[in-house]
Symmetry: C2
Subunit: 508 residues, 2 copies
C-alpha cells in the first residue's frame, strides 16, 4: 500500500519544522554550555527567527488543509499506529498553535533570551531587581497568550490550565491541587518525624575533597555503564544542568561539579541520563516528526527521577557503585561500606535549594512554586512582592529562613526563561516514577539483583519497550493507562515508597 500523498506532504512539512526546532535546540544547548558570553545578543535573534519561521510554517493554512484531508485516513488506521498518532497529535498542536500570532512567539523568544541573561546576572549578584522587569514582561506576554486561548476556546476553566497544557497536555490545575494536597498531607508528618532526629543519618561521606577531573571521569564511567555511548551522546558542564537532544542519535546531557560535594555531579548526571535515555529510545520511525519527544514533561521527569532516585539513591545500586567510588577516590572511601554510602546519599531534611533537596522535601519545594505561580497569575502576589512571598512560603512549609534571594526566589532558571506552569511536572514526575516502579517491580522480579551487579540492561529494555519508543504518540494519561492500568496521576505509590524509605532510614 503506497502512502497517501497528503501524508507525505504533511511529513515533509513536519520534517522541515523538526529541522528548524532541532537547530534551535543546538543554538540553545550551545548558549547554555559553551558559547562565548558576548555571543548572546545575536544568538537571541537567531533563536527568535527560527522560532518565527517554524511557527509560520506550522500554522499556515496548508497545514490545516493537509490535516483535514487526512481525517479519513486517520480514522481508518489503528489508534496507536504511527501515522494515526502523527495526524492526531499534530492536529491538537495545530489547533493550539494557530491561536498565537507569530509576533507573539517572537516576543516570547526575545523576552526569554533576555530574561535568561538577566537571571544569570541576578543570581550571581543576588539582586532580584535585575530580574524583575524581565519577569513583568514575560508574565504580561503570558497574559496575552492566555487571553487569546480563552477567546478561541470557551471551555477553559482556569487560566493556569493554559500554562500547564504546554508541558502536560490536558492537565488541569484542579487535578494538580488534588494530587499535591494528598502529597502534602502525607509529607508533612514525615518531615516532622525526620526533624526530630537530625543526627540519625551521617552524610559526611559525600563531602570532602573531590577534584573535578576525577569526578568527571567517575561520572562518565558511570554514565557509560548506565547506557551512555560516546558515538551518540555528549556530557558537558553547565551552571544549571539540563538535557537536550539534536536527534535520537545525538543526545546532550550536562552536569556541574562541586569540588567539595559529590552529589551534584553524581546524581545530576544520573538525572540527566534519564532524560537523555528517553529521547534516545524514541523509535527511529518517529525521527524528524513532532512525535520524537517525550509524552509530557511529567513523563520525562519520571525517567530522570527514576535513574536519579529509585536507582541511584536505592540500596542495590551501591553494591555496584561503591567500588566505583573507591576506584575514583581510594583514600576518601577506604573504610566505607555499602550501607554507609546508601545512608549518606539519603540524608533527609529541609533545605534551601530545590535541586539539592532530598526526595521527600523536594515535593514541598515544587508545591511552593506551584502555589506562587497560581498567586502571580491570579494577581494575589504582585511580582515586586515575590521574594517576600517566597520567603514566607519556605518558612511555612520547610521551617527555614531564606538568607538571600540567590538561595531563594532566584535559584531556578525557569521563570526568567519564561517557563510558568512547568514546575508542577517535577513533582508529578516523582509521582509517575513511583507508579511505574511498582509495575516494573512486578515485571522484573530480579531488578534489585541486576542493579546491584551494575546490569542496567533489563531496566533499559523495559523502559524502551513500554515508554520510550512511543515518543509522543500517547498523552500522559493514555500512556499511564497502557503501562500501569490507571489513567491518572496517583500519588499513593510515591507516598508508600517515601514512607517505607524514611522509616528504613530514620526508624518507624
Amino acid at each position: 500500500m503506497s502512502e497517501h500523498p497528503d501524508l507525505g506532504k504533511l511529513k515533509e512539512r513536519l520534517g522541515e519544522i523538526s529541522d528548524l526546532r532541532g537547530a534551535q535546540s543546538l543554538l540553545g544547548w550551545d548558549q547554555r554550555t559553551i558559547m562565548p558570553q558576548k555571543g548572546a545578543g545575536v544568538r537571541a535573534s537567531r533563536i527568535a527567527t527560527l522560532g518565527k519561521i517554524s511557527h509560520d510554517l506550522f500554522v499556515a493554512d496548508e497545514t490545516g488543509q493537509l490535516l483535514d484531508s487526512l481525517t479519513e485516513l486517520e480514522q481508518s488506521l489503528p489508534f496507536d499506529s504511527d501515522d494515526a498518532s502523527l495526524i492526531r497529535v499534530t492536529r491538537r498542536d495545530y489547533e493550539k498553535a494557530k491561536v498565537i500570532p507569530t509576533e507573539l512567539t517572537v516576543a516570547f523568544s526575545l523576552a526569554e533570551s533576555a530574561g535568561y541573561q538577566a537571571w544569570v546576572e541576578a543570581r550571581a549578584t543576588s539582586d532580584y531587581t535585575i530580574l524583575l522587569p524581565h519577569l513583568e514582561r514575560i508574565v504580561e506576554l503570558h497574559r496575552q497568550a492566555i487571553a487569546l486561548h480563552r477567546a478561541a476556546n470557551e471551555e477553559v476553566e482556569d487560566d493556569y490550565d493554559i500554562l500547564l497544557d504546554d508541558y502536560e497536555p490536558g492537565l488541569k490545575a484542579s487535578e494538580v491541587s488534588r494530587v499535591f494536597d494528598l502529597l502534602k498531607n502525607a509529607t508533612i508528618p514525615l518531615v516532622e518525624h525526620i526533624r526530630a532526629k537530625p543526627d540519625a543519618v551521617d552524610d559526611s561521606l559525600v563531602h570532602g575533597d573531590f577534584p573535578v577531573e576525577t569526578q568527571r571521569s567517575l561520572v562518565t564511567t558511570l554514565a557509560r555503564r548506565l547506557g551512555y555511548t560516546d558515538d551518540a551522546w555528549r556530557l558537558d558542564t553547565t551552571q544549571h544542568p539540563f538535557a537536550s537532544s539534536m536527534s535520537t542519535q545525538d543526545i546532550r546531557i550536562t552536569t556541574r561539579y562541586y569540588p567539595d560535594f559529590l552529589n551534584p555531579a553524581l546524581f545530576g548526571t544520573m538525572h540527566e541520563f534519564g532524560h537523555g535515555l528517553y529521547e534516545h529510545g524514541v523509535s527511529p520511525e518517529l525521527e524528524r516528526t513532532p512525535l520524537c519527544r517525550g509524552a509530557s514533561m511529567a513523563f520525562h521527569e519520571s525517567q530522570s527521577r527514576m535513574w536519579e532516585n529509585l536507582i541511584g539513591r536505592g540500596r542495590p545500586f551501591w553494591d555496584y557503585g561503591l567500588p566505583e567510588l573507591k576506584r575514583a577516590f581510594p583514600d576518601h572511601f577506604a573504610g566505607a561500606d555499602e550501607d554507609a554510602i546508601y545512608r549518606a546519599v539519603n540524608k533527609f531534611g529541609p533545605s534551601l535549594i530545590r535541586v539539592e533537596a532530598d526526595e521527600l522535601t523536594y515535593n514541598l519545594h515544587i508545591i511552593i512554586r506551584f502555589e506562587l505561580e497560581r498567586d502571580i497569575f491570579s494577581g494575589t502576589v504582585p511580582l515586586a512582592d515575590l521574594p517576600a512571598a517566597w520567603n514566607a512560603k519556605v518558612q511555612e512549609y520547610l521551617g527555614i529562613d531564606v538568607p538571600d534571594d540567590a538561595q531563594g526566589v532566584l535559584q531556578d532558571v525557569h521563570w526568567g526563561s519564561g517557563a510558568f506552569g512547568y514546575f508542577p511536572t517535577y513533582a508529578l514526575g516523582n509521582v509517575v516514577a513511583a507508579q511505574l516502579w511498582e509495575r516494573i517491580a512486578r515485571d522484573l522480579p530480579d531488578l534489585d539483583g541486576d542493579v546491584s551487579r551494575g546490569d542496567f540492561g533489563p531496566l533499559r529494555d523495559w523502559l524502551g519497550e513500554n515508554i520510550h519508543r512511543h515518543g509522543r504518540k500517547f498523552g500522559p494519561n493514555q500512556l499511564l493507562e497502557r503501562v500501569v492500568g490507571v489513567d491518572r496521576f496517583d500519588p499513593q505509590p510515591l507516598v508508600r515508597y517515601l514512607t517505607t524509605k524514611v522509616e528504613g532510614l530514620y526508624g518507624a
Copy 2:
C-alpha cells in the same frame, strides 16, 4: 532622515536570512568539532532544510521587488555607504542565487554532508573508491548549476569562472592562470635552489615530545596575546582546522595537536586566528546582514596567512615567541636562541601535505589542485583517474612520489564537501597578504619592533581600519584599489618576499 520603508523591509528579510545562515554555521561547526558521530544523518537534513528555507526566502520575488524599489535610493547615496553597499551587494547575490532552483541547493547540501562523511572514512582508510561516487555526484550537480548560470548569462567565458565566482566574486580563470604562471616561474628556480642545500636549515627544534595539554595552554596564551578574548572567541580541536563565526562577537577557531611536532598547533592557531580576527572586526553596523563576512576568500586567506607566515614565521616574532616556548617546554628549548627557532620554523622543501608545506612550495600545491580542477571540469581527467593524475602532478612540480592516497588526493576536505573553485583563493591569499604587507610596512614603520615586543595592537588596528570593518561592502578588486592602489592581484610582492626570505635562509 528616517529610513526608506523598503530598506527596513529588506534589512528585516536579510536579517532573517542571516539568522538562518548563522544557525547553519553553528550546525556545521558542531558537526566538525564535537558532534557525536551518529548524529550525522539527521544533522545533514537540518543543514539542508535551513539552506532550503534561506534560499527560498532570498530568491523570492519580494526580494527582487524591494531591490528594484531601492535603486533610486542606492544611486543617491555614496558608493561606500553601508546602505548603498548593502543594496548593491545584495542585488549581485540575488541575480546569481535566483538562477538556482531550491531543489538543487538541497541536493548540493545533502551531497556535501554525505561527501564529508565519506571523505572522513576514505582518508582514514586511504581508500579513494569510498569517496569516488560522492565526487561523481557533486561534480554532476556543479555541471547542472553551471548550465543554469550559462543559460542565464551569455557573457560567461569559461565554466570554471562560475565555480570561482562563489569564492572570489568576479575573478576569471584566465586571471588565475596569469597570476599562477608568474608565480610558478618564479617559484621553480627557488625550489631548485633549496633542493641543492637540503641540510642548510635544521628543524629539529620543532620536533620532540610536546604533551597536548601543554601545547593547548601555549597556543591559548599566544592567541590571547594576538587578540583572542575569552568572552568572544572559542578555540577547539578538530581534524581539519577551520574558523567560523556565529556573529562578530562569537568567533570559533579550531586547531589540532601533534604530540611530536609543534608546527600544526602553533601555526594552525595563528592561521585561524587571522580568519577569526577578520570576522570579529567587521563593523557592528553590518551585523545580521550579508555584508557581515570577508570581501572574498582570497582576502580572508590573506589575513590568515599574514598571521601565520608574515608574522608567525618572521624573525621579529620570535623575540617575543621564544620566551613563551621556553616557559611551556623549558627543557626542550633550554639552549635555543631566536635565530635557531626562526630557522627551524622555516625549513623549505617539497613535501606531500599542503597544510604542512613551507611558504614557497605551498603555492605549487595549490597550482596542482587548480590545474586538476580545470581538467575535471573540461573532462580531460575522469574522476576515476584523479589519483593517478594527482600523483603525476606531484611528481612533476614537487619531484616526489605519493605513497598512498591519504597523503595524496584524499588529504583535503574540500572536494568531498563540494568545494570546487576554492583552492586558488589560498595562493591568491598569499599574493594579497604580500601586497598588503608592503603597504603596512610603509604605514607602520615600527611594526618589527612592535611584533618583537609582542605588541600586536598597531597591526590589529591597521587591519581593522583598512580591511576588517568593511566586511563585504567592497569586492576584492575594489578593496585592493582602496588599500594598495592597484585593482588586481599582483604576485610580484610575494615573489620579492619569498626571494628575500629564501636567500636569507639558504644563501643567494
